[in-house]
Symmetry: C2
Subunit: 422 residues, 2 copies
């Protein structure tokens, strides 16, 4: 597959922006002057509506409503109300999604529930299959559960998506993968992988942190078992905004997750000493949610819901194609190695290059207002977010990259100095 047409000049990019059917949506975001923001895959920018939302929650709901806002502002139902709002972007049904806690915690719940289902139906299966290059916290959580249960579970890691078929066998209880790889942007075929995993008798958990809001997702269509993901990246929910969890209807009541807090109880306000899980997705809630941060998630969701996902996907592929082509044309010979798949069906919405001096090059770019990010080892990562990035933005970003490489201006002490958070 290739893009519908080739963009080669700055003027081509100008024209593409002018013809872009979703160009106007960028006006919904606060994009600082002088910044080209290619890090929406890490932290989405602020919707303009977020300030008024924060003011409403902090000033009115908390300040004036006080404790009454649990009822009048609907705080208690917020995780499931937002989950229902998010559901269409995941191909999920109503009542199947909650926005709550962090991705790591939600993955723990899913993995625990999946293992409890596997234990009931296929107790001999003791292997969790994942990928060495999965986002590390996913592996750490699996390690944590395995160590805690101390009942012979094992984490089996593949080094390449091509190894998946041979890794999933009769010992496999659960397969746990990131839909889009955080470093390379490699995108799994959710439907094909899920089908294969099921054929081999295992359960399938997807981490959508780097794909939700960026690519079309059909969890119900793929018949996945569990999914988790992030709202602060492509869904623009705000720094550290609560994550989401999706559970297939057939697993909803079959497994049990041990973080059985009062928000997951059938009658949370009856204050009974014994736990009885609520029907549906609420049983995956734990305790009181950070209402201010949670409320802000709605601003980003409302923007995403106004745009057709097929328009987002088409523009995302056109922009990443352009990014890759321009780097190839203008930055050749400077040692940048593309690690993002060229095939559209395996490309999410960021492009990444490895360079031995990647850290300093990214710091030099950021100092010029082109904000991407850096990931060990040596990865320059550029999030391409069609809601607010245009074709000229890509042109200008690559031009800045070219200039930094040509001039060698990345080779300065201030760009070598490591920040605490990289």
């Amino acid at each position: 597959m290739t893009t519908s047409r080739t963009l080669e000049t700055f003027e081509d990019c100008l024209r593409a922006d002018a013809e872009d059917p979703i160009r106007a949506i960028r006006d919904e975001f606060d994009l600082p002057v002088g910044v080209l923001y290619f890090d929406g895959n890490s932290l989405g920018p602020r919707p303009h509506s977020a300030s008024a939302c924060a003011e409403r929650v902090v000033h009115e709901e908390w300040g004036t409503g006080l404790i009454r806002s649990w009822n009048t502002a609907g705080w208690f139902d917020l995780p499931v109300r937002l989950g229902d709002k998010l559901a269409p972007l995941l191909g999920a049904g109503q009542g199947q999604v909650a926005v709550t806690d962090s991705t790591s915690i939600n993955l723990f719940k899913c993995l625990a529930a999946a293992l409890s289902i596997a234990k009931q139906t296929q107790p001999a299966r003791r292997v969790i299959v994942s990928e060495r290059d999965n986002f590390p916290t996913d592996l750490y959580i699996a390690e944590g559960i395995i160590g805690f249960l101390d009942s012979g579970y094992e984490l089996r890691l593949i080094d390449d998506p091509a190894e998946l078929s041979s890794a999933v066998d009769a010992d496999t209880a659960v397969v746990m993968l990131s839909h889009a790889n955080y470093r390379t942007g490699y995108l799994y075929d959710m439907s094909a992988v899920t089908t294969e995993v099921h054929e081999r008798g295992a359960l399938m958990i997807w981490d959508l942190a780097h794909s939700a809001g960026a690519v079309p997702i059909d969890l119900v269509g793929a018949d996945a078992d569990f999914a988790v993901g992030c709202t602060y990246k492509y869904l623009n929910g705000g720094p550290g905004s609560p994550a989401f969890i999706w559970v297939n209807e057939r697993n909803m009541h079959a497994g049990r997750q041990p973080l059985s807090g009062w928000w997951g109880h059938a009658r949370p306000f009856a204050m009974e000493p014994g736990y009885e899980a609520h029907e549906g997705i609420r049983r995956f809630l734990i305790g009181t949610q950070p209402i201010t941060a949670l409320s802000l998630v709605e601003c980003g969701l409302e923007i995403a819901l106004r745009v057709d996902m097929s328009d987002i996907r088409q523009k995302s592929l056109a922009l990443t194609d352009l990014f890759i082509a321009l780097v190839e044309q203008h930055c050749a010979g400077f040692g940048l190695e593309l690690i993002t798949p060229l095939e559209h069906e395996h490309r999410a919405s960021h492009v990444s290059f490895v360079h031995p001096e990647g850290y300093s090059i990214m710091k030099a770019l950021i100092a010029r207002g082109v904000i991407g990010d850096y990931r060990e080892p040596g990865v320059l990562r550029f999030g391409v977010t069609p809601l607010y990035i245009g074709y000229v933005d890509v042109w200008n970003a690559v031009d800045a990259l070219r200039d930094i490489l040509e001039s060698g201006s990345w080779d300065r002490p201030e760009f070598r100095e490591r920040d605490a958070v990289t």
Copy 2:
């Protein structure tokens, strides 16, 4: 113990307010006109500074700083920076506290770590002792862990604090209690109970949800093992603001908690596939925190740190004494039964009465602007928060209660109708 003097008339209360050394601190809070707020034990009111803080985080740090704010605004260190700020209010040392996640999740971590320590040192001990009247989520979390581990652990519940001594025996691995009971306000002697539990060879976990910020606490002095608690009650952190976790230095590296996410890793940005826990309290962090909600915690903490805890305690006891005495004098014969201890050493900072029509009486009070809350079964609960409640406020609240009881005005359909969140 009794209060230093008896307040009998409205004029006595006026005078007590005028002489109150911490009276001025109430000006730091946004207290709506026409509201007497006796529910700070459930959700503290908004510090005036919270609006500017929310604006700063949402507009500047998120909107303008974008991803750079992980470094420039110190987001990544916020859980431990706030933990260090909170520490003096808990009698905790620096580096021992983190503000993160919810109380239920933090309790899960503590219980898991405690059980892992007990398993290493005294594997035959399989009993967790708690109280049937503990806040339910604490019991649900224990139930969740026990079911998940499936290795013969058992939850043993006492029905009265007096039963504790006989319940903690050679089978007991962990004792897990709320310092202050959420219904009655009964306050355990943290030091004496911890000593006794240790003498019997068990570990001690305290839930400080209803005591942190309200009564003097000395975790290090009492030599407790673990503690968790809440920042949105007496610490005025905002609706659902992240909770806290404290771990005794000797347990910091001895146990392991299975929610081993990347924020707890020794080198979170090295992106290694294997987990290695960070030194100190950071190993009790999991994943990305809700920065907006977390940042707001600082506003409440800064107010609390300006006041001497002995002043808060003295005023709290004077106010609860007054509340109890006025109800006894003015509401006698209407069937209110005090369930809060009269002894100061066993009284936290709320007073509770049982009444068969408690729900409707509380709704009638709230309709008049006297906001307390209701807890099953039949409990009218009044949080007495010395930072912003005065003696005249108590007089007026009890006067409203008297009037509602005398007139029978609680007996209306609108006060019988149950809200979703009670």
